[in-house]
Every structure is written in structure tokens, then in C-alpha cells.
């Protein structure tokens, strides 16, 4: 890789030196030419020869640069960036630009295109045609493979399986391919139209031959080929319409671009810088094309073209299947069938999985509910046991309390009895005391009576006594 880099860098250095020298040479010649034009001097034919050669050398220089750039990018980057990107990184436009750049350099006296250069890049048709068939599958409807390449593969397969190389049938398929190749390689709408007309005539002629038994193909295949030819005609017709539209739009865009360039030159602001030139080219072309492409009419034409391409592709797919039928190769329809079944199984599996998940959820919920119920029952049992134990305890406590109360009551009763006895004894005692007191009182009363009798008979004296409350 190191050698490659060195080689490329050296080449670039040489190229740049050469480019500068050639451009200066061309500038010198142009200056001389201008002076002479202004001075009214005639120039020798040798001068023009030198001038043209100088210009040619420059063009060659840029062509080589473009090619080398492409080569370098492919070598260095092909394994690092997408193929599609490489396709668009086509640096050959540098060469195209250079031609236009030279032709648009402002010269004194308002002279434009001094060398009579025309065509090339300001004509957008070539660029746009690449979108029609060769590069852009959106228009061509044939993916990234050229329609002619698909044809070649298809009829190669057909002939391979039929084994009829060199027969009248193989002549038909060869002509079919040749005519289509020419049609899509034609460079103008006019030539495409002529070729499409020729194709129509050919199809009519071949239609008669296809039914002839000498062709060596069965009726079904003849019918399928015939169908493909009719669809090819439709496709070619819409293709011609599209190329015509692209060409006329391109012409309009080209005129607009040239007008803008001239206007810029007249206003003393020539578009000489490469980037400015490209920006103007892109902007003017795009404006014109988008004006056309945004209409419903364009959408209709494009739709017709794309649909015609798809119909033809479907028919060719059918022919390819026919070609492969006798071989042990799995057919597209068989694979599609298998894939569809696998897909359905996957969908069923997904539905089943979801149902399972739903059931699992329900089971989990149910299990949860059961577990909760069991837990509740356990809890209830426990609660009953606890309650029983508590009740028992309470009963014991109550019994104990009752016993204690009985004991206490007995005690109290005993105490009460004792108190009663004591009270009775006390009462008896008091009664005794009272009797004694009564007796004493009686005795005292008797004494008093006796004393009174005595007093009545004896001289009077006063006596004080204290009574006790018993």
C-alpha cells in the first residue's frame, strides 16, 4: 500500500506541474490571439493549430485526471465504502467541466465560445439518460442490473435448458436482445423512437413464426414468449415517451443555463470558478426539471413507464421459472411458498406465545388468589387458636379470679362471722355490762329509796352524783 500511495502522490505532483505549464501555454496563446483580434492582424494557420493543440492537450490532461481519480478511489476505497457511493463519485465530470470552463471564459468584445465548442456537459440529456436506464432503477424498474443484462441472463438460461443453440428459436431470442440493446443504448429520443418502431415491425413478423411447429418449442412457452414481446413493446413505447420528455426538458434547461452564463458575462461577472459553474449548472437544470417533474402529467408518464417495466419483469420472471423447471434448482415460487408458510408459522407462534403469556398471567393471578386464600385460612386458624388460647387463658384467669373471689368472700365471710361473733360477744358483754349497770342502778335506786326514807326521817343534806352513760 505504501508503494501505491507514493506512486499516486508522485503522479499527482507531475500532473499538477504539467497542468500549470499547459494552462500557462494556453493562456499565452489566447492572449496573443486576443491582441491580434483587437489589432486586426491576421494569424497564420500554424498559430491556430498550436492553439487547438494546446487546448486538446489540456482536455487530455483533464480526461486523464478524471480517469486516474476514479481508479484511485476504486483501488483505495472499494472495500470501505458502498458500491452505490462509488457510482456517484464519478470524477469524469472534471473533464466535462473543463471543456465548458474553457468555452465560457469571457473574451473582450463579447465573444463567446471562441472555439466553437458545444455539446458536452451543458447538455443534460446524457446525464439524465443515465437515470433512465443504466444507473437509476427508479426509472428503469430493473433494480441495479441493466435491463439488457437481465435479458441476456434470462435467454441464456432458456437456451441452456432447452438446448436449442443455433435453432430458429435461438435466432429469435438473439434478435430480441439485440434490438432491445440498441434501443436502450441509443443516444437520442429520435433514434429510440425509430428503433421502437422497428421493434414493433419485428414483433409482428415474429408473432407468426412463434406458432410454427418447426420452432421446436411447446405452445405454452410460445405463448409466454409472445406475451413478453407484447409487454416489451409497451415498455419500449413508454421508454421512448420518457426519453422524449427528458430530452426536451434538457434542451430547455440547457438554453436556460447558457442564457444565465451569457447574462453573467454581459454583466461582467463571468462564471469562471469551477464550483460556481457547477452550482449554476445544477441550480438551473434542477429548476427546469423539477418544474416538469412536479406535474401530475409527469407522474402519470412515470407511472406508465414504471408499471410497464414491472409487467415485463413479472413476465420474464415467469419465463425464468419455466427455464428452471426441468432443473433441480429450487424455483422462486417454491421458495416464496416455503417462506410464506414459515412466516405464517412464525405469526402463529407469536399469537400462541402471547396467548401463553396471557394464560400464564391468569394462572399466576389464580395462583396468587389461591395462595392468598390459603394464607387467609391459615391466618383464620391461627386467629381461632389464638382466640381459643386467649379464651382459655381468660377462663383460667376468670376461674382463678372466681377462686380468689371465693377465698376472699370466704375470708370476708369468716371475718364477718368473726366480726359478728365479736360484736355478739361485745354486745353480750355490753348487755352484761348493761345488766350489771342496771343492777347497779337498781341497787342504787333501792339505796336511794332507802336513803330517801332515811332522809325523811333524818335532817336534810344535799348530795351530788355523777351518772355514767352506759
Amino acid at each position: 500500500m505504501h508503494d501505491f500511495i507514493k506512486q499516486q502522490t508522485d503522479w499527482l505532483k507531475t500532473w499538477q506541474e504539467s497542468q500549470e505549464s499547459l494552462t500557462k501555454q494556453y493562456a499565452g496563446l489566447s492572449e496573443e490571439w486576443t491582441k491580434n483580434i483587437l489589432g486586426g492582424k491576421k494569424k497564420e494557420p500554424d498559430f491556430f493549430e498550436g492553439w487547438f493543440k494546446s487546448q486538446g492537450d489540456l482536455e487530455e490532461q483533464f480526461r486523464e485526471f478524471g480517469q486516474r481519480m476514479n481508479e484511485m478511489i476504486s483501488n483505495v476505497w472499494s472495500n470501505k465504502i458502498p458500491t452505490d457511493m462509488l457510482k456517484y463519485m464519478n470524477t469524469s465530470f472534471i473533464e466535462e467541466y473543463y471543456k465548458n470552463w474553457l468555452s465560457n471564459i469571457e473574451l473582450p468584445g463579447g465573444i463567446k465560445n471562441p472555439l466553437g465548442m458545444d455539446g458536452g456537459w451543458q447538455q443534460t440529456t446524457n446525464f439524465l439518460r443515465s437515470y433512465l436506464e443504466k444507473e437509476n432503477p427508479f426509472f428503469s424498474s430493473f433494480s441495479n442490473a441493466k435491463i439488457t443484462e437481465q435479458m441476456s441472463r434470462l435467454f441464456g438460461m432458456l437456451q441452456g435448458t432447452l438446448g436449442n443453440e443455433g435453432t430458429a428459436f435461438s435466432d429469435i431470442t438473439r434478435n430480441y436482445q439485440n434490438m432491445f440493446s440498441k434501443l436502450f443504448d441509443s443516444t437520442t429520443a429520435q433514434s429510440s423512437e425509430k428503433l421502437a418502431e422497428g421493434f414493433d415491425v419485428w414483433v409482428k413478423e415474429i408473432g407468426k413464426q412463434l406458432s410454427a411447429p418447426k420452432l421446436g418449442i411447446n405452445r405454452e412457452l410460445a405463448h409466454d414468449i409472445s406475451q413478453a414481446l407484447v409487454l416489451s413493446q409497451d415498455y419500449a413505447k413508454t421508454y421512448v415517451k420518457m426519453t422524449r420528455l427528458v430530452e426536451s426538458t434538457s434542451r430547455k434547461a440547457g438554453i436556460r443555463f447558457q442564457t444565465k452564463l451569457s447574462e453573467a458575462a454581459i454583466n461582467k461577472k463571468p462564471v469562471n470558478k469551477f464550483a460556481d459553474f457547477c452550482a449554476l449548472w445544477a441550480a438551473e437544470n434542477e429548476a427546469v426539471f423539477l418544474e416538469v417533474m412536479s406535474t401530475q402529467e409527469f407522474a402519470k408518464l412515470q407511472g406508465d413507464y414504471v408499471d410497464a417495466g414491472h409487467r415485463l419483469k413479472i413476465q420474464w420472471n415467469k419465463l425464468a421459472e419455466k427455464a428452471l423447471e426441468p432443473t433441480p434448482i429450487a424455483l422462486k415460487r417454491d421458495l416464496d411458498l416455503a417462506i410464506a408458510e414459515i412466516h405464517q408459522m412464525k405469526r402463529d407462534l407469536r399469537t400462541f406465545r402471547r396467548e401463553m403469556q396471557a394464560v400464564q398471567k391468569e394462572v399466576l393471578l389464580a395462583r396468587g388468589a389461591q395462595a392468598a386464600a390459603e394464607e387467609d385460612a391459615e391466618k383464620a386458624k391461627l386467629a381461632v387458636k389464638t382466640a381459643e388460647a386467649a379464651a382459655q387463658e381468660e377462663l383460667q384467669k376468670a376461674k382463678a379470679l372466681v377462686k380468689a373471689a371465693e377465698v376472699a368472700a370466704r375470708e370476708e365471710l369468716k371475718k364477718a362471722k368473726e366480726a359478728v361473733q365479736a360484736a355478739e360477744l361485745a354486745a353480750l358483754d355490753e348487755a352484761k355490762k348493761a345488766k350489771a349497770a342496771e343492777a347497779a342502778v337498781l341497787e342504787m335506786a333501792q339505796r336511794v329509796t332507802a336513803d330517801t326514807k332515811t332522809i325523811k326521817t333524818a335532817p336534810r343534806t344535799t348530795t351530788k352524783t355523777k351518772s355514767k352513760n352506759v
Partner: protein, 371 residues
């Protein structure tokens, strides 16, 4: 008097500069060994994208169904939002646009704002996906991913962020399962396919989608890509590469340019049956806004979108015209809606300098206010 030599000198200098740029550019191309994400911390490729050698932002595969994958991004912020965001990108092109390089990454910006991000990678469509329908993708994988995230986080609803076609898918999902979507953020999302200011809408109205799918099966990615290029044929096919020469001398700018190119041309094929329904029912029938769109036997009613909606679109979008996105708010049942627009194009929404600093913070702020 002689202006010619001066003009010529000027042109000569210009072209000399041009060729010098080319020379340096080629040297840069040669020395630019690998088109990484511009971020080298020794991690290996995630293997999820063809052209990106290294992941820009670290992520982990958390759920898979065939080639369809759900990733969760590693946190970059200490404070993380409790409700994660599921990002649904379009099936056209790859989600790597959201995480192109460290200084152009909507994903990084959202992570830095404390969002917990999940992302759906549809993978590269192949023949086995020929019969995959919109129902398989929306009611199938998106729904599976949403359920996965809800279960992981033990939450009822997630935040849903859809981009372009992924936004349309997300809107359909949000209408079918409003209870699982807490907030909905569609970005540059086509909803109303009627506006004729889009060339795609005009072109799509006049061709037979059935024929296309029947002819191809899966429709080639480059076919879709070229249709997009035809929206600006000269700008995108020529002028872009002329301008490239101007920046080729700067290795970093060249790498940025090529990284973007690699993304543009990284276009997976479109699954046939999905594209058939998308073209017929939406581009041609405009059934979503008419309330006639059916998915898996169920009618999709946008009025069911009752959660808060932040509708984000680009003023200069040529792929999805602003009117197509703007229409959403007129068809949904939500009372909490907000619009956010930027003066950028479709892709510029995710990579332009204008949006890098403000888009993610605004989204995060809007979400956080509704958690």
C-alpha cells in the same frame, strides 16, 4: 483594456487551488484507513451496521426476534428519567443517522439529558422478510418491545419517539395501545399523505404498487434511494460531489462527508408486503387521516391518541413536507399537544449544527415535565 488575462489568471488560480485540493484529498482518501464513527475508545464493531466500523455510543442488545433487535443505550448522566424512551426509526435507511458521530448524535444528546434510551433496529431485510406486514412490525415487534420495557421497569406506560416512517408506525401503535404510551414524540413523521407539495406524494399517486411488489418481492433499497435522489437530481448527484472537492483537503471534514455518504447509501431493501400496504393505504389511499386504516383487522383511530404529544418537523423537508407532519395534531384526541419546528431539512433535523444543541434538551425538558 485587456480583462481577459486577469480573468484568466483568476480562473487559473481557482483551478490550481481546485487541483491542489484534489491532490490533498486523494492523499487523505488513501491515508484515511477506516471509516469509523470518528470515535475510538478501542471498542469493537457492534455488527449491527454494514458500514460503520465502530459504534458511536455504547449500547447493549436486550431483546431480539429474528433479525429485529432492541438495544438499550448505556447511561451518560447520573440523574436518569424514570420512564424510558423507545426510539422507532424508519425501515428506509438505518438508525445510525441518530448516532452518526460524537458531535452529531441525537442519541448522545438525549442520554446527556438524562433520558433512558431504547432503540429498535429493524435489521437488513432479506428474502425471509418478503411476507412481513405492517401488522408484524407494529402489533408484533414494537408491541413486544414495549411490553419488554414495561416489564423490565415495572411501569404501565413508556415514552415513544418515532422518526419518519417509524413515526407513522409509532402513531398507529399509540392509537392501538394508548394505555401503554405515556408520551408520544413523532419527528419528521408523515401522517397526511395528501399534500401535493411533495414530489414523492405526486409520483406515488400514479403507479401500481402491487405490480412493483409482485415484480420484486422485497423492493431494492437502491431503488428507494434513487427515488429520493430524484427529488434534487442535480444537487445530489453532481453538485454535492463538486463541493466535496472543496473540503477534501481537510481530513476531518472529508471523513464527516464520507460518513454521511456511507449512511445515505446504506439502504436496506423494503419488505414487500409492508411496502405494499404503506404505499397503497397511506401514500395512495391516505387512510390514516381518513380513519379507514386497518391493521390486523382493527381500525386505527387517531383520536385514541390521548397522551401528551410533542410533534417535531422540519421547515425545509422535501421528503416529508411539513404539512404532512403538521396534520397529526388535527386528528388526535390529546389535549396536551405541542409543536417544535426547525429551519432545516429532513436529515438536517438530526445532524445539523442548528439542532445539535437544542433539540435533545427541548425533548428532555418536555418529557420531564410530564413524568
Amino acid at each position: 483594456m485587456l480583462t481577459f488575462p486577469n480573468k484568466f489568471k483568476e480562473s487559473l488560480e481557482d483551478f490550481t487551488k481546485f487541483s491542489e485540493n484534489l491532490k490533498k484529498g486523494v492523499e487523505n482518501l488513501v491515508s484515511l484507513d477506516e471509516l469509523s464513527a470518528g470515535f475510538d475508545d478501542g471498542r469493537e464493531s457492534c455488527g449491527s451496521c454494514k458500514n460503520c466500523r465502530k459504534c458511536c455510543t455504547e449500547k447493549e442488545l436486550v431483546f431480539r426476534d429474528g433479525k429485529r433487535t432492541l438495544y438499550r443505550y448505556s447511561q451518560r448522566s447520573k440523574k436518569v428519567c424514570s420512564v424510558p424512551v423507545l426510539m422507532v426509526y424508519a425501515m428506509v435507511n438505518r438508525y445510525t443517522m441518530l448516532d452518526l458521530q460524537p458531535n452529531r448524535s441525537m442519541i448522545r444528546n438525549l442520554l446527556d439529558q438524562g433520558q433512558d434510551l431504547y432503540l429498535i433496529d429493524w435489521g437488513y431485510t432479506d428474502r425471509m422478510d418478503r411476507f412481513m406486514t405492517m401488522e408484524d412490525y407494529i402489533d408484533g415487534f414494537i408491541n413486544d418491545c414495549v411490553d419488554f420495557i414495561r416489564e423490565q421497569h415495572q411501569i404501565e406506560a413508556i415514552n415513544l419517539l418515532g422518526v419518519c416512517q417509524g413515526g407513522t408506525f409509532s402513531a398507529i401503535y399509540a392509537a392501538l395501545y394508548p394505555e401503554k404510551v405515556k408520551n408520544f414524540i413523532p419527528i419528521v413523521t408523515p401522517i397526511d399523505f395528501d399534500p401535493k407539495d411533495s414530489l414523492l406524494n405526486v409520483w406515488a399517486s400514479e403507479f401500481d404498487a402491487d405490480l412493483m411488489v409482485d415484480a420484486y418481492g422485497n423492493v431494492p433499497g437502491d431503488m428507494m434511494n434513487n427515488a429520493y435522489m430524484m427529488l434534487q437530481p442535480f444537487t445530489l448527484s453532481v453538485n454535492k460531489y463538486v463541493n466535496m472537492v472543496q473540503i477534501m483537503e481537510d481530513a476531518d471534514k472529508l471523513a464527516d462527508f464520507l460518513r454521511m455518504e456511507a449512511w445515505i447509501f446504506d439502504s436496506p431493501d423494503q419488505p414487500g408486503e409492508t411496502l405494499r400496504q404503506f404505499l397503497k393505504d397511506l401514500y395512495q389511499g391516505n387512510k390514516l387521516v381518513k380513519g379507514e386504516f386497518i391493521l390486523g383487522g382493527r381500525k386505527v383511530n387517531l383520536k385514541n391518541i390521548t397522551m401528551p404529544v410533542l410533534n417535531i418537523y422540519a421547515d425545509f423537508d422535501t421528503l416529508v413536507p411539513p404539512a404532512s407532519s403538521k396534520a397529526l395534531l388535527g386528528h388526535i384526541g390529546s389535549s396536551d399537544t405541542q409543536e417544535l419546528t426547525y429551519p432545516v431539512g429532513h436529515i438536517g433535523m438530526f445532524v445539523s449544527g442548528k439542532t445539535q444543541k437544542t433539540l435533545a434538551p427541548k425533548i428532555a425538558e418536555w418529557i420531564n415535565a410530564r413524568i
